[in-house]
């Protein structure tokens, strides 16, 4: 049924044909209420026995019209809304939005703010990856890692809570700088956490990395080649696991990333196992960044002088950051008023999820959950 698309080089998702079923074929609806579709994703699977013949992701169950809301809020008013898109990485969302608006204004956050932003964004990346690790392992049937990873994530959320009072939807930054000055023991807390984290990551790896069943369940599953990944607009760890060494923190540095040394881990095979390894390695790198950053937080103001009322001059800007899940971009059009004329969010999960159809071909039902887990989607971001 996908022969036409094959000619064009790819099987693009085209909706599952439910009318003509071969013998032994069944249609299975996974979701929107399913334990491991990570929210309200619905996947229509056409199965031959347990093997996936065709698949279609049906999204939109969490659509709240965030982009429409943005057109009716002033620039600072909209900032809390972005936290609710990728709600497991709210800090990164806020960072992207604030920087995009700053770029639109032609303003720039002071050095202290940029370093603190980097620290919080990297902690958020670790938290997001920890949550991913736990749920992914749970999907594959390992019951224990989630409790270990939640234990560590809790430490990060405590730091967020001490910093801004909120744990999940933090709204940690302000356009032009930071919402709050850091608290007294901020550096100490962050350092202590980072020092403990290395051993903890080793612990997860002991449980999973060389576990025969884990390797068997993830290796060769959901393979995405580098060319496919680029053509599909896939970014983030999924792209890097396919062998493309591309990370916006290096390619087009923002915040204070260019000050720090870190590596961009990549893998070759582009399967679920490589995505796992890439994310684990990324956590280690993020830890290094945080340790470097927290060592020297420059003194100085935390807010740039941007005025009380934000009225960016007319024009448009596209600014993107490397979110935990991939390229998180904001395309903001200003008409010179206090409200954005248009805010377009380029959510990484949306594009990464698009690659699901490609990864799932020929997989088994059990692989489907492994693949969804390995993409690391958040439906709040996909549906906006």
């Amino acid at each position: 049924m996908s022969a036409g698309n094959e000619a064009a080089g790819f099987g693009t998702a085209r909706g599952v044909d439910t009318t003509v079923l071969g013998e032994n074929e069944i249609i299975l609806n996974m979701g929107p209420q399913h334990p491991s579709t990570h929210g309200v994703l619905r996947i229509k699977l056409r199965l031959d026995g347990e093997r996936v013949v065709d698949s279609e992701c049906i999204i939109g169950y969490l659509h709240r019209g965030v982009e429409k809301i943005a057109e009716h809020r002033s620039y600072p008013q909209f900032a809390p809304y972005v936290d609710r898109m990728d709600y497991v990485a709210a800090v990164s969302n806020g960072l992207g939005y604030c920087e995009a608006v700053e770029k639109l204004l032609g303003a720039e956050a002071p050095p202290r703010a940029r370093v603190v932003r980097t620290i919080l964004a990297e902690l958020q990346r670790i938290a997001s990856h920890l949550l991913w690790l736990g749920t992914h392992a749970l999907d594959i049937g390992a019951l224990t890692p989630i409790f270990y990873s939640m234990r560590e994530r809790e430490e990060i959320l405590k730091i967020f809570e001490k910093y801004c009072g909120a744990r999940l939807t933090t709204h940690a930054f302000r356009i032009g700088g930071l919402q709050y000055e850091t608290y007294d023991t901020f550096e100490y807390d962050v350092k202590r956490f980072c020092e403990a984290l290395a051993a903890r990551i080793d612990e997860y790896e002991t449980l999973l990395t060389e576990n025969r069943i884990w390797v068997g369940r993830t290796k060769g599953v959901g393979v995405l080649s580098a060319d496919d990944a680029i053509a599909l607009g896939v970014t983030g760890p999924v792209l890097r696991a396919s062998g493309v060494q591309w990370d916006l923190r290096k390619a087009q540095p923002y915040a204070a990333y260019e000050q720090y040394q870190f590596e961009v881990p990549t893998r070759e095979n582009g399967d679920a196992y490589d995505r796992y390894l890439v994310r684990i390695a990324e956590m280690r790198q993020s830890r290094l960044i945080v340790l470097q950053a927290v060592e020297q937080i420059p003194e100085g103001p935390i807010m740039a002088r941007i005025g009380k009322v934000l009225k960016p001059p007319p024009g448009e800007v596209y600014h993107s950051i490397e979110g935990p899940k991939g390229e998180l971009g904001y395309y903001i059009v200003s008409d010179g008023t206090i409200q954005p004329y248009r805010v377009r969010v380029r959510p990484p999960s949306f594009f990464n999820l698009q690659a699901f159809h490609r990864m799932a071909r020929g997989a088994m039902v059990a692989d489907v959950v492994a693949i969804i887990g390995s993409i690391d989607i958040v439906l709040g971001e996909v549906d906006r």
Partner: protein
């Protein structure tokens, strides 16, 4: 490493006076080399990335108010103009971002040229902006990114209501969902799209919410009544 003031740079532009500072992508000692070709880091690619920066004429310092969109020209633009002639409209630079206005009907060919000849391998996003007072009321925006050159490029086309835009799904398969989203929320029809259906809203929904004439409180009351069994979702 020397600290830079700008919180980001969008090549091909570069702030004047920044020449002494090594570009993050051109291989400062502590930084991994960027950009990369696929799969392998190639030093040549990194060297190449620095090139477009030198072509750029100077612009205002960063801390002042951003410049108004200014006309822009470089080799890339010239090549595109030479090849597509009138299909390439105005080319401007706004806040260090190159925006190329293109003729909607030639988008597929231009996109193909951008992908294959200019090495913009990745389609980052497809979206639209509604300007209801304009005659050609929609701006369709394609954000491109070149992994080889570490550059961004924005194609923009103005279209009228009801006009169809060629789909670029044959150029980048990744355009599938964002084009569906544009269709869903703006009602823009992409010709040649393999499966142009609503994606975020229910299939039977009437109206396109991101159009400016669609009020924020408005909804498809018929649909709500029928499917949710309530009078109004408000």
């Amino acid at each position: 490493m020397v600290k830079r003031g700008g919180n980001d740079e969008d090549p091909p532009e570069k702030r004047p006076g920044d020449e002494s500072v090594p570009d993050a992508s051109s291989g400062a000692s502590n930084v991994l080399q960027f950009p990369t070709s696929l799969k392998k880091v190639e030093p040549e690619a990194a060297a190449e990335a620095a090139k477009p920066a030198r072509r750029v004429p100077g612009s205002a310092p960063a801390r002042e108010a951003p410049p108004a969109p200014a006309p822009f020209d470089n080799e890339l633009v010239q090549r595109l103009r030479a090849r597509f002639g009138d299909a390439i409209g105005e080319v401007t630079i706004d806040r260090k971002q190159v925006i190329v206005i293109v003729d909607a009907s030639h988008v597929r060919e231009i996109a193909l040229a951008c992908r294959d000849d200019e090495k913009f391998e990745m389609l980052v996003d497809v979206t639209a902006v509604d300007w209801p007072r304009r005659e050609r009321r929609f701006d369709i925006v394609w954000n491109l990114y070149s992994l080889t050159k570490n550059e961004r490029l924005r194609l923009k086309a103005h279209v009228t209501v009801g006009a169809t835009v060629p789909s670029v799904t044959s150029v980048w398969v990744g355009a599938n969902w964002p084009e569906r989203e544009c269709f869903d929320l703006f009602g823009i029809v992409f010709e040649g799209h393999p499966d142009l259906r609503r994606i975020l809203l229910p299939e039977e929904w009437q109206g396109h919410p991101l159009r400016k004439d669609y009020d924020i409180l408005k909804q498809d009351t018929e649909w709500v009544r029928e499917h949710l069994g309530i009078e109004s979702g408000q």
